[in-house]
Every structure is written in C-alpha cells, then in structure tokens.
C-alpha cells in the first residue's frame, strides 16, 4: 500500500486533484488528459491542495459496510459513466443519508432553523420540506434551548428527531437540554425512555467567520454521560455516519465542519451504514501513528505527502468516533508504531486530544517509545484576521516538524 501512495505523491504534477480510489489511478493514467480530469476526484478545501484518504481497511465490520468502489473497479478502460457509484459533495451525501432514513422510517423528522423552506443554511436539507411537509421538516424560531428540548421530548414519545444547530456554537444555548435531558434521561428513568435524537451541525474554524462562529464544541460535550459523538470528514463517512446515527437508539452528536461541505467523492450506489464507534484507517504506515479527525485529516494528509517524500511512513487514522474512542484500532496501531501524534482542531485545554492522550497513556503506556505529542489549536478565541486565524489552527508544516521531532 505504501508503494501506491508513493505513486500518488510522485504523479501529482496535476493541478489540484488526487484520487481517492488509488486502484483507479492505474487505469486513469493511461487516458487522455481530458478524460483523466473527469475520472479523478477533486478534493479541495478552499484553495488548499489536499489529499483524499483511502477507504477503510480492516475486516471487522465488513458485513455491515458494502466495500467502497475500489474493490469493484476492475474493468479496464471503463468509461466514466459506467463506473459504479455516484459522485457527490459532502452536503449532498448528508442529505442522501437523511433522505434515505426519512423514507425508511416515518418517525424520522428534522427540526432546526431554516431547514425547511430555506433548505438549510448549508443546503443539507434542501428539497426535503417540499417532499415531506412542514411538520416533518420543521422550521423553528431562533430558540435553540427550547427546540432542542422539544426534540428530546418528541424522542421520549417515540419519534426520531434530527436537531440541526445552524452552527454548532449556537448549541451552547441548548447545553442544559443536551446534558441533562438528552444524556441522562435513559439513566435516571431506569431505562424507561430512550432518546434517539441526532444533534448535528457545522462547527470548527472556517474562513474568517469570527470567534463566536468558529467554535469547537466537541470538547465541551465530551464529558456528558449518555451521548455519543462522531465527526464526519468525507462524503462516504458522512452519509454512513448520518444513517448510523439516525438508526441508533442513543443520542448522537454528529459534528460536521463548515469547510468540508464541498468535498466531492464517489460513493457507492448501494445502501451502507457505517459503524459509529469505529475509526477509519486512512493510510497505513510503520513509523508513527497520527490520530486526527474532521478537517485536520486533510492537513495531516497533506503533511503526509511531505513526510513520505522525506522518507517517513506515517500511519494516519481518522478517529471519527469522538466518544467513545475506538481504542481497538488506535491500540493496534500504537502497538505497531510506538509513537503517537494527535492532530486536532480543538483547543489545547480540555480538548479531544487531551482526553485521547489520557486514554492512550492509561491503556497503552507500555507500547510507547516517546511521549504523546498533541497538536491542537491555540487557546484563544478565533481571530478574524486571516493570518491570525491560520496560526490558530494546526498547519501541515507544524505536523511535519512534529513527526520529525517524534521520530528522531
């Protein structure tokens, strides 16, 4: 696998595209430039050149997930149209997952600000209100605390609401409902009530959105007992996690990222559901385990290219499940590489990285050859100025430097 990646790294003389399915790369390289452009998957993140990740390897939940297109694409010189799967953007993948679940179960409903007629501020729910009606795709007033509470009350009665926060930061207003009612009701009622809600929304540092609209709430919610948290990063896992979250009987908080909504990927036509608690092996390697999630995955993969050129072999894992951590995948990786680098977008203090560091130290201390390095955002409110904002989050050169330091 590492050799294929070398191939990818070497051949990226193309402008701004890298394939997600590396096996396809072989066929595509034989074609004319125009066709080649059509068959490659463009994965951009606001002008920054990024890599796509490999599909998850590992057979643990093979029976759940239909393997992505890579396995089937063995027909040489196939035309673009007959390739299995279909291409779409991340927000469309979310919508597809949502629509499939709403079709499948009449109890699934959506509520949030501007999800109905407006179609969602990031277009995730576009067209759904026209299809399912105003009650099932409910436009709420700006009252996060109460409509989150309403969603939880409806869930107690057997519905399966999906509550959208227009920006994750707004859900701070609903913290009481999420912590006390959402997380705890199953426990305090002795198991009588289940709360199958999905709370989703975009968070993370965007493009100069300002301090209050660039918050990372995963660190605030991670202590709440009774909830699960997942973060999606590619269209493939966005759709799979959305469906899994809706089908789950537990309250799940699905963290999306403002800058990742326009990622394009080819996903399977068949229905698939991903495992909520499993991490994704993005790039297997030997020298160091890099744990990351959401947007930082792309910074890591970009750094990985540089690292590979310098001769390192990083293993990149997108942890996806922020609560609980997939210590199985992470542990096996650490047993192999003995070095861990965590790259996250949360703040340094009390972030996901801090908890992950503690969890790894507790469980896998014997396997570590070096202290865990955790690269997180600075403990500052996100500034508006572009340059300052760039310095708030972790950038690829920092990741490269950290790996070099770690692997000395």
């Amino acid at each position: 696998m590492a050799s294929i990646f070398q191939g990818v790294g070497a051949a990226t003389s193309l402008s701004s595209s890298t394939s997600i399915e590396t096996k396809k790369f072989h066929f595509c390289s034989r074609r004319s430039p125009s066709e080649r452009k059509a068959c490659f998957v463009v994965v951009r993140s606001g002008g920054v050149m990024v890599d796509g990740g490999l599909n998850r390897i590992g057979g643990r939940a093979e029976q759940l997930v239909t393997n992505a297109v890579a396995a089937k694409a063995d027909t040489p010189a196939a035309a673009t149209a007959s390739k299995p799967g279909h291409e779409l953007l991340l927000f469309e993948a979310l919508r597809e997952g949502l629509e499939e679940e709403m079709e499948r179960d009449a109890r699934v409903c959506v509520m949030g600000e501007d999800v109905g007629h407006y179609g969602g501020s990031y277009k995730v729910t576009r067209g759904l209100a026209q299809k399912y009606g105003d009650l099932r795709v409910l436009d709420t007033p700006i009252a996060e605390n109460s409509f989150t509470g309403m969603g939880i009350g409806a869930a107690m009665m057997g519905l399966r609401p999906i509550i959208e926060g227009m920006n994750m930061g707004f859900l701070l207003l609903a913290f009481n409902q999420i912590s006390n009612n959402c997380g705890m009701l199953h426990y305090t009622s002795g198991g009588q009530f289940k709360i199958p809600v999905v709370i989703r929304g975009p968070g993370g540092v965007g493009r100069q959105l300002g301090a209050e609209h660039s918050q990372r709430l995963e660190s605030y919610f991670q202590s709440i007992p009774g909830i699960q948290m997942v973060a999606c990063s590619t269209p493939y896992n966005a759709k799979g996690l959305m469906k899994a979250a809706i089908r789950s009987d537990n309250p799940v908080i699905l963290f999306e990222h403002v800058l990742l909504y326009n990622l394009k990927e080819r996903i399977p036509d068949e229905e698939y559901v991903l495992n909520l608690e499993e991490a994704e092996m993005v790039r297997p390697g030997e020298h160091v385990t890099i744990l990351t999630y959401s947007r930082m995955r792309y910074h890591v993969m970009q750094a990985a290219k540089t690292l590979v050129n310098k001769g390192y072999d990083p293993e990149v894992i997108d942890i996806r499940s922020l609560k609980p951590f997939d210590l199985y995948t992470i542990g096996n990786s650490i047993k192999k590489t003995h070095r861990v680098l965590i790259v996250e977008e949360c703040m340094r203090t009390g972030g996901i990285g801090a908890s992950l560091t503690a969890a790894i130290t507790e469980n896998f201390h014997d396997y570590l050859d070096a202290p865990i390095v955790c690269l997180s955002s600075q403990d500052v409110p996100t500034p508006y100025a572009g340059t300052l904002e760039e310095w708030t989050v972790v950038q690829p050169p920092q990741i490269v430097a950290a790996v070099e330091q770690l692997c000395r």
């Binding site: 009252a143 107690m156 009665m157 199953h186 305090t188």
Partner: protein, 393 residues
C-alpha cells in the same frame, strides 16, 4: 366495642352506633350513577378565552375516590417527611402536601394516554398516574424496587406506560420537553394532549416563552399548567415576577385561573382545556395552590412566610377537608368511615415503607447499566466500553 370508647359528645348521634348497621343505608363509594352537582369555590377567571361553568358534575364514587386518593397522597408525603428526618431519604425531597387537588382533579379529567410532565415535585403526580407506593418509597430510599431502579431519586420519577414523563431537576427545562411531547402527539394525530406543569418560580424562565411561542405557532396540543404556590423557594411571587398573573403571561395564548385547592375546579378546568387545546392550540392554566411544607426538606418554610398564613390556608382551603365536608354534607359516609379511610391509608403507607426498606440497594454493575442502549446493530464494542462485543443483527 372500641368505637364506644372513642365516641364523645363531638360526634354526631348517627355515628355512635356500630357502623355496620349503617352500611346498607348509605350509597358508599360504589355508586357512580347518581349525579351530584358541585359548585366550585370561586368562579374561573379567563384571559382571552371563555370560562367554563362553575357547576361540576360528579358522583359519589368519584367523591369517595378523591378522598381516598388524596388521603393516600397526603399520608405518603408526611411519611416521606419523617423518612427524610431519619436520614433514609437523602438529597432533595420536595413535598406536595397541600397541592394534592391539582393531581387528583387533573387525573379525573384525562386518560392515561394523555401525557403529564412536571418538575421535581412529582411524588403525588406519579401516584396519580398509577405509580405504586412501593415504587415511590423504594425510589426515594434509593432501592432497586424503585420506579427508576433507585438511580433517579426524588426528582426523577417516571412511568412510561402511564405517559408520566417525570421528574426533572432543572427548573423550566421540562417545558420544552412537554412541548416536544405535544409535538409528537400532533405528529401522530392521536388526539391526546400533554399537560406541562411548572411552578411560579419556573414561570420566569425564558425557555417557557420560547416553547409557548412554538406551541402556539404550530397549534400543538400542549396545556401549560402553572402550579402557583406563591413561593419560588424563598422568594414570594411578587418579588420575582413583575406580573404574577401567570395565566395572562401568554399574551396571545388564552389562560384560565383556577382555584387549585378545589379538586372539582381543577377537574373542570382540565376538561375544558383538553377540549380547547385539541381545536385551538395551547392554553395556560394557573392553579392557585399552596404547599404546607417548605420548598424542600431542607427549607423550614417559615422564614419567608408566617405560620399563621400556613395554618390559615390549612383551615380554610385544605383540599381534603373540602372533600370531607362535601361527603358529609351529601351523607355519603360517616366521619368515622372517613377516619377509617385515613387510617387505611396510613396502614398502606407503613406497609409500603416496610416493604421498600427490605428492597436492596443497587449493586455495582447497576452503575453502568442504562447509560446507553445496546444492540441496535451498528456497534461492535458497546458504547460504554465495559463490554467487548455486542451481537450484530
């Protein structure tokens, strides 16, 4: 027999004789065909709506049931008081005595498919919804026989089959939940309603008005019931609210002010509200009631109000006394029979407490149960990480 020793000049001549010879003379508690019309103590006051009539129809069976149930509730709360003082109940214990009429009247007007959700003063509402004394006391004492397996406590009584949704510790947070219950009822089009209860203290929470706005916007079948006992812990209502007319606070939402110490007024108002809400959207009911105990067991209840006030209300407006007078006036039972009912209630409560004391405390594995739900098919580890694998379907 014992009866003769107890009789004194205070008792009416009728009851000095042995009670058995009188049983066949009196339509005691089994007759639900005779209609008795009762007038509520005060007329209803309406805001943006018509008031229901002051005359409420009832029957002997209902009257006797009211008395029996309220006596049981009162007894349970007083027993909880002494259990708390003997440190068998810990933490917070908010008692409902004085307010029983709200629960009883409401239950008489609705079915078990209509939902009730309230805050932490939930023991009697739980009983009214069909909860047993054993479940209540066991939960209060933290035993496994409790309604929440001992893991909820005084503030977290729930009964899903009877559509009783608790039991919430954070003041006001149950109101959006209640509107959510009403939303689900509207979604399912089943024709049931939700009674969302809160106190005069919670009436100043912002989420209440947010939820009210949404309920009115979408015509949700939510009835917001403000149990106004005039004190938000130690703060009197006029010190906390610019406008203590809570039934008017809904502005565009109609409201009704009800004497909450009169079970029949409550019954009439709830019946009226249920019909109203299924057609017109939410309504606010303000129950003018009173609690004899302090806010909770750690509050003596006399630092912010006078003992004269408490005893005054007890003498003039006590809900059980009102029913007692009605029963005696309509000659449905003798004083002795009513006292027997109260004794029976005491006995039941004592038995339940004894049984609850025998119930064990939860074991350590219980600590980790019911944190997550398992087995819906997409997990391989189990969310709480205490098990390695769960089976996938």
């Amino acid at each position: 027999m014992a009866l003769a020793h107890r009789s004194s000049g205070l008792l009416k001549p009728l009851s000095t004789a042995s009670s058995s010879s009188f049983l066949h003379r009196r339509p005691y508690s089994t007759d639900d065909t005779t209609t008795i019309t009762v007038e509520t103590s005060v007329p209803f006051t309406g805001h943006n709506c018509e008031t229901p009539s002051r005359s409420v129809d009832t029957n002997p069976k209902e009257l006797m049931t009211f008395f029996t149930d309220m006596a049981l509730m009162r007894r349970m709360e007083i027993a909880a008081d002494s259990l708390y003082k003997s440190k068998l109940i810990r933490g917070f214990c908010h008692l409902y005595d004085g307010q029983e009429a709200v629960s009883i009247g409401m239950e008489a007007a609705i079915t078990k498919k209509d939902c009730i959700i309230t805050a932490y003063r939930d023991h009697c509402l739980f009983l009214g919804r069909g909860g047993t004394l054993l479940e209540s006391f066991a939960e209060l004492m933290g035993r496994t026989a409790g309604c929440s397996n001992g893991k909820g406590g005084s503030m977290h009584f729930y009964k899903k089959e009877a559509c009783f949704f608790g039991g919430h510790g954070i003041v006001g947070a149950q109101v959006p939940l209640g509107c959510g219950l009403a939303f689900a009822q509207k979604y399912r089009k089943e024709g049931h309603v939700t009674f969302t209860m809160y106190g005069d203290g919670a009436a100043n929470q912002g989420q209440l008005f947010e939820a009210l706005n949404m309920a009115a916007l979408w015509d949700l079948p939510a009835i917001l019931v403000c149990e106004n006992n005039h004190y938000g812990m130690g703060t009197a209502e006029w010190r906390a609210a610019k406008s203590p007319a809570y039934y008017k606070r809904g502005d565009y939402v109609p409201g009704l002010k009800v004497d909450g110490m009169d079970a029949f007024a409550v019954k009439q108002a709830c019946k009226f509200a249920k019909e109203h809400v299924l057609k017109n959207g939410p309504i606010i009911l303000e129950m003018d009631t009173y609690r004899y105990h302090g806010h909770s067991m750690s509050d003596p209840g006399s630092t912010y109000r006078t003992r004269d006030e408490i005893s005054g209300v007890r003498q003039e407006r006590d809900p059980i006394e009102r029913i007692r007078k009605l029963i005696l006036a309509h000659d449905l039972a003798t004083e002795k029979e009513l006292k027997d009912i109260e004794k029976q209630a005491r006995k039941e409560v004592d038995e339940a407490i004894a049984k609850a004391k025998e119930s064990p405390m939860p074991d350590e594995p219980e600590l980790f149960t019911n944190v997550y739900r398992k087995g819906f098919g997409v997990e391989s580890f189990g969310a709480d990480r205490k098990e390695l694998r769960t089976t996938l379907p």
